[in-house]
Symmetry: C2
Subunit: 220 residues, 2 copies
């Protein structure tokens, strides 16, 4: 069994990035790569790549490298991407629309079945070829289609309520983009994605740079 308790989430994030890079290499006709090739163009080092992969088994051949197709198939399996996951998007505003056509989702085999919106005038329409249904049909649709993942792109005020509907209808995971943390019962996996956190981390590092520049000047 995988000692998955010990795997840092950052490693999973990197696996996802490696896998996308391997996709690109595969499409470019590359058949064998080194850990250095995998780390090229990313923040990590080749040692990091080897360490991350080692969590999940032995993949490469010493002195030869990794078989691109084989490694990528394994990574996709680890990432739960070997079969397509069924997704609905709740909220057909700008964010929902952006997510519905986000190349990163579509390329990776997530199957977006439908979008839902409280605005009845949007129902019957479509979002980048994904049908939009009225909100009251969400529960029934999720049950009938055995939807795996609900993507929440509604305003903060209705985020938890939306999550509760999805949970009752039986989704296994929730990806919440509303700028408000929500909760789910333990059996439903949850990722709160607050887009502004990234902006604030950036802002933190900008402040740090200023601070250091100031200190360097003071020491001169």
């Amino acid at each position: 069994m995988l000692k998955t308790e010990k795997i840092p989430e950052a490693a999973i994030t990197r696996l996802s990035v490696y896998s996308r890079h391997l996709n690109y290499l595969e499409q470019s006709g590359v058949t064998t790569v080194s850990s250095q090739d995998i780390s090229d163009g990313m923040d990590g080092s080749s040692a990091q790549v080897r360490k991350d992969l080692a969590y999940f088994g032995e993949f490469g051949t010493r002195g030869v490298g990794y078989d691109v197709r084989d490694l990528n198939r394994n990574l996709k399996k680890i990432l739960g991407l070997s079969h397509s996951l069924k997704v609905v998007i709740v909220g057909a505003g700008n964010l929902g629309a952006a997510l519905s056509q986000y190349k990163g989702f579509l390329d990776r085999g997530f199957s977006i079945l439908a979008a839902f919106d409280r605005d009845m005038s949007k129902a019957g329409g479509s979002l980048n070829q994904i049908p939009i249904y009225p909100m009251y049909k969400l529960d029934e649709f999720v049950r009938q289609n055995q939807v795996d993942i609900g993507v929440v792109a509604v305003p903060a005020a209705s985020a938890q309520e939306t999550v509760d509907i999805l949970v009752r209808a039986g989704v296994r995971g929730i990806l919440n983009f509303a700028p408000k943390a929500v909760t789910t019962p333990n059996e439903v996996e949850l990722r709160n994605v607050d887009l502004s956190v990234n902006m604030e981390i950036l802002s933190f590092y900008l402040g740090l740079k200023e601070l250091r520049a100031g200190e360097a000047e003071a020491q001169e």
Copy 2:
């Protein structure tokens, strides 16, 4: 000096979440909180809160707790939010539109000055009251307005090119939402935000749950 080398990025992410929670408490008229109050409704524990805050100094009073306003002012200062940062959004499609009105950004004092798009028919229009200019004006605008941060919401294929323009024009940080990792010179802070990574982390945990359920069954 802050021993910032040692501060894990996850702690900064949490500070950002704490600060938003403190905003909410402040608006609700709460004046004093415990670390338990701060951790309520989030994934962390009160011990985690204390540890995260300890990276940056001593804030609370033992047995009394934290002064909400004071602590939040300190957190905002740490996060570089005590003065407003000037932001432009490049790409006025769905994602750019979603980001331009993302409550998380606006609430936190980021000032979005303008959006830019290659599509000349969008120029002259506006995105949630933010003016849209043609792409060729990006360089000049960033220089004249001393823009701090460029948010990149263009298709993958033009992401690096957009980043290069922003860097040459003098931004201090880049937040890249295009589903393709870009690079910047060392002096320009960069955050690549791949929205699909979150989906894949979710999918990983769903796979893990299946695996464990399978193992539990096999053991029965």
